[in-house]
């Protein structure tokens, strides 16, 4: 294996600075077949890498560093690995393992005082990994299955029937108690444990008219997992927007926004989903595209980068990005007109990483929730640390994901709240399975469902067990 940066000198450390310089100069490639980790097509930017001053402020917020206490599984360590790659080090299995282990939660971006754009760096790196690294057959098969399923609503819908039947059968208890699946196929077991109890799907019309005077016309993304596993969230979003005076346009032909692909380096797939999402909403003729899933919103705000190299779409992508709003961001901007009914409940609000860290949206959902009379809001300790869901990370890395989930669940339980509120389907699935494992019974809801219940004057019981 090449040792691009190893400084092995016979002399005792004469001048470490020189050693550093040596490490940054031209790098010998160890074996003749070793190819540098990155090609020239958008490798992680050397300029962005140089913003990192190695202060370490990112470490305590990084989920993998908190788990394992290792540099190479920390943001600044991964940046070091990228730097090594840029200097010619080959893409070894261990290097890929550390990039793959990153949850992409972007807590480090929030924590970084130097403004390092780790989000851009890791995404560029992941595209390179997908291009140059051959994964193990098992890993390949698992990823292929995930990406053949999750981004496709119809396939997810086809799964709903059997899943509901399975959940109704009492089999889940038997399966979980036996632990058989954990032993045979831990990743499959993770998926089994994460699947939410399915609610009835409400069919949404293509246009929901504003209640009272119309204040705006907005488009709405229905999402894949959100739409199929949490249809109630979409229905609530449409109702709240309408109650606040919006005509809500829900393009029927919209597909996956590509979030999972963007966040996993599947460049071409991501581009394809981005183009078709832009097409759908352009055709709908709306000025604002409202998104209720944090992961989707965050990747839709990245379309300008995803499609930067596509002359036909680059400009349209920039225009599209300017229209994208998370639902809480949009409602806070709009200001509320619909009266709120009291909800006597103590909630813990969980910042979804792709809402808080990636989009910087923390105050808006809290402000909206605080408008509800009687509602008490509790902050969760270690709020900045990811719950371990991270898109498909919890499926690919079941064990560490469980540790992170359990840690989050303990912190949530410590607030004494009876209802957990967050804005991402992934977090809801992850946290709910951890809470269940820990034996904590509490309601789980999306922010918008709480607003919907308040506006409609529904009882608390509609938001799950209290």
């Amino acid at each position: 294996m090449a040792q691009p940066t190893r400084v092995q000198s016979d002399e005792p450390q004469s001048d470490p600075r020189k050693a550093g310089a040596q490490a940054h100069g031209p790098v010998p490639i160890g074996s003749p077949t070793a190819r540098p980790a990155f090609d020239d097509e958008h490798p992680p930017s050397a300029e962005l890498i140089s913003d990192c001053v190695h202060c370490g402020f990112c470490l305590p917020t990084c989920p993998t560093y908190t788990l394992w206490g290792e540099e190479m599984d920390s943001p600044r360590g991964r940046i070091d690995l990228m730097k090594a790659g840029l200097q010619g080090a080959p893409m070894t299995d261990s290097m890929v393992q550390h990039f793959d282990a990153c949850l992409g939660c972007m807590a480090c971006v929030t924590a970084c005082p130097s403004g390092v754009q780790y989000d851009k760096l890791i995404e560029a790196t992941r595209v390179q990994v997908e291009r140059h690294h051959t994964r193990s057959p098992g890993d390949r098969a698992m990823r292929a299955a995930i990406f053949a399923l999750f981004p496709y609503k119809r396939r997810l819908r086809a799964l709903r029937g059997p899943l509901r039947a399975y959940q109704a059968s009492g089999l889940p208890k038997v399966v979980r108690r036996s632990g058989l699946l954990d032993r045979l196929a831990p990743k499959l077991a993770a998926m089994e444990g994460l699947a939410p109890v399915l609610e009835k799907r409400e069919k949404l019309p293509e246009r929901v008219p504003a209640v009272g005077q119309r204040r705006a016309v907005v488009g709405m993304l229905t999402g894949c997992v959100q739409g199929e596993f949490f249809p109630g969230v979409n229905a609530a979003t449409a109702r709240v927007l309408a109650a606040e005076g919006c005509d809500v346009v829900i393009p029927r032909r919209q597909g996956c926004c590509g979030a999972l692909s963007v966040h996993n380096g599947r460049q071409e797939e991501a581009e394809r989903f981005a183009r078709s999402t832009i097409d759908s909403f352009e055709a709908a003729g709306v000025d604002t595209v409202v998104v209720n899933a944090a992961g989707c919103g965050s990747s839709m705000k990245e379309y300008a980068e995803v499609l930067a190299d596509d002359p036909a779409y680059a400009e349209r992508a920039r225009a599209f990005v300017a229209k994208v709003r998370d639902v809480s961001e949009y409602l806070a901007e709009l200001g509320s007109v619909a009266p709120r009914h009291p909800l006597e409940v103590t909630i813990a609000y969980h910042d979804a990483c792709h809402l808080g860290h990636a989009q910087g949206i923390r105050q808006q959902p809290r402000a909206l929730l605080r408008e509800i009379p009687g509602l008490q809001l509790k902050e969760i300790p270690e709020a900045e640390i990811c719950c371990g869901s991270a898109g498909i990370w919890n499926v690919l890395n079941p064990e560490p994901a469980r540790e992170l989930g359990d840690r989050k669940a303990r912190n949530i339980a410590s607030t004494g709240a009876t209802l957990l509120v967050t804005a991402n389907p992934g977090c809801l699935m992850q946290v709910s399975s951890s809470l269940e494992r820990q034996g904590t019974r509490m309601g789980l809801a999306h922010t918008i469902e709480v607003l919907d219940a308040s506006i409609r004057g529904l009882p608390l019981s509609t938001l799950g067990p209290q």
Partner: protein
């Protein structure tokens, strides 16, 4: 001292040559590459047997991520990284190092700013990031017993529910480790009133460079006998590895007031600082930032410091409510009398946190206004502040090298940030020259070359400017008493390895001071 934690305690500190643990003719590295590789292989074998499988890092690409600490312009990739979880594992690795003459370097979170945890290419890096248990919080005794990898702020988090906190607060307190703090005798903004780490560590389990585990100090204050604990705290990893720390907890104050004061110039802010201290007030902290540092902090954390300020002071008063009220009135008046144009009192915890965030993220925030920088850490008598700051400004304008100033004004601990662009030919050298000249300024004003970051790799060359050869030789006597083979973080603190011999490995000849009849080996 009762052995309530840790194992393998000896009755007390045993200082001596390593003949107890190392056969006199043990195979020591003699310096050829093959021997060194063999020695490292031997230590690796021991580590593999003693540590969990994931506790060793040998992959070259992975090793590279440990090539520097918080001072990134010194880089050396270690031969082996170990991540022990217990004192026994640390001791096993160190014993093997001693046996084979392999140098080792301890590292906590890797945030140090003097290159104190810079690895050796021919050595082992012992990383304590997995030793992060807070073993005990004994609030009634005002003590906590923690492992070395515990994050500084986590001690406070654990003690706060009981009404206590851990006082030393380096700017990196959210990530720096207690073990690293102990090694560097770290300070922080609140050390003006509460003292440095050395005032807050009451005991430690130390793995000596021979691999013995000894207990220094303890739960009771002021252990009888020589203050070996005092010797170890701040020894920058040259006397062994601390694997437990017993730290003092301080009662949370009844009242805290944080005041942000804008001045037109650093002269005014410096004069106000001196006036406050002269009035007999000891604030918990008085921190100063100049215009360039403010610009960086604003860019990073939008801390909303007063517009147009040439300098700001962050003044924190804490203690009994009546006392704070009384001091606050005086501080407010003294600042006004010395030209403050804006004063803001934090009205709640959120505002206080924002004021501190600006100050505490200032070093790293400078990354926003300059690609590279050197953080200096000089100390001057407080009264010399205005003069030295003017001299730094002159240095900056004559050399064209920008210097931002962030510092603990209350105790005259300067942190000039010398900005440069490493990509530009000669810029690094010019910055280093300015940085060195600033240290000379500190020394010539009766100050010191480091206040709290340590000497490490970075300032070793400046030690002779402050100390005579005799001084340095005397310090070496202490080092040799603990580490006669010079394997514990060699090459740090002292300019060139003196007397003990720089090259790790067993010394064949008697110690030069012994030979000269000036001293006896312990």
């Amino acid at each position: 001292m009762s052995g309530t934690h840790g194992t393998e305690k000896t009755a007390g500190p045993v200082l001596g040559t390593s003949t107890d643990t190392v056969p006199p003719e043990a195979t020591s590295a003699t310096g050829t590459p093959g021997d060194k590789a063999d020695a490292i292989a031997a230590v690796t074998r021991v580590a593999r047997a003693a540590l969990p499988a994931n506790g060793l890092i040998t992959d070259p690409t992975e090793l590279r991520t440990y090539e520097c600490d918080g001072l990134a312009h010194y880089r050396v990739t270690p031969a082996l990284v170990v991540l022990p979880e217990t004192t026994e594992q640390v001791a096993a690795v160190v014993r093997a190092c001693a046996e084979h003459g392999v140098p080792f370097v301890a590292r906590g979170s890797g945030t140090g700013l003097s290159g104190g945890a810079l690895p050796r290419a021919d050595g082992i890096l012992v990383v304590t990031s997995r030793m992060r248990a807070i073993r005990e919080v004994r609030a009634a005794d005002q003590r906590a017993v923690v492992e070395p990898g515990v994050i500084n702020l986590d001690v406070t988090r654990a003690a706060t529910p009981e009404g206590y906190y851990y006082a030393p607060d380096p700017s990196s307190q959210q990530i720096c480790s207690v073990g690293g703090n102990l090694a560097e005798n770290s300070g922080g903004a609140h050390c003006l009133k509460y003292g440095f780490t050395s005032n807050h560590v009451l005991g430690t389990d130390l793995v000596t460079p021979q691999g013995d585990v000894v207990q220094l100090g303890g739960l009771a204050p002021d252990a009888p006998g020589y203050d070996l604990l005092g010797t170890v705290v701040g020894s920058e990893g040259t006397l062994g590895i601390a694997t437990t720390a017993i730290v003092r907890l301080v009662r949370l104050p009844e009242e805290v007031r944080t005041l942000l004061v804008g001045f037109r110039s650093t002269d005014d802010a410096g004069a106000a600082t001196s006036a406050i201290i002269s009035a007999g007030i000891v604030p918990a902290a008085i921190e100063m930032m100049d215009a360039l540092a403010i610009e960086a902090a604003e860019a990073a954390v939008h801390c909303n410091y007063p517009d147009g300020a040439g300098a700001v002071l962050v003044i924190e008063l804490d203690g009994a409510a009546v006392e704070v009220e009384h001091e606050y009135e005086q501080v407010e008046r003294l600042c006004r009398e010395h030209g403050s144009f804006e004063q803001r009192l934090a009205i709640d915890a959120a505002e206080r946190a924002l004021i501190w965030k600006g100050r505490k993220s200032a070093f790293a925030a400078v990354g926003r206004i300059s690609p590279d920088y050197i953080v200096q850490d000089g100390v001057i008598p407080r009264t010399a502040l205005p003069e030295v700051l003017r001299a730094i400004a002159d240095l900056s304008s004559s050399s064209g090298v920008r210097v931002a100033n962030v510092f603990h004004a209350g105790d005259g601990n300067l942190h000039p940030l010398v900005l440069f662009d490493g990509e530009k030919e000669g810029a690094g050298e010019a910055a280093e020259e300015v940085s060195g000249a600033i240290l000379d300024l500190c020394i010539s004003h009766g100050g010191s070359i480091t206040g709290e970051h340590g000497v490490g790799t970075d300032k070793a060359a400046y030690m002779p400017r402050m100390f005579t050869d005799e001084d340095l030789d005397t310090m070496q006597l202490v080092r040799c008493a603990f580490d006669p083979d010079n394997i514990s973080n060699p090459g740090k603190v002292f300019p060139t390895p003196r007397l003990c011999g720089e090259v790790p490995g067993k010394r064949k000849k008697p110690h030069p001071l012994v030979e000269a009849g000036l001293a006896d080996a312990f």
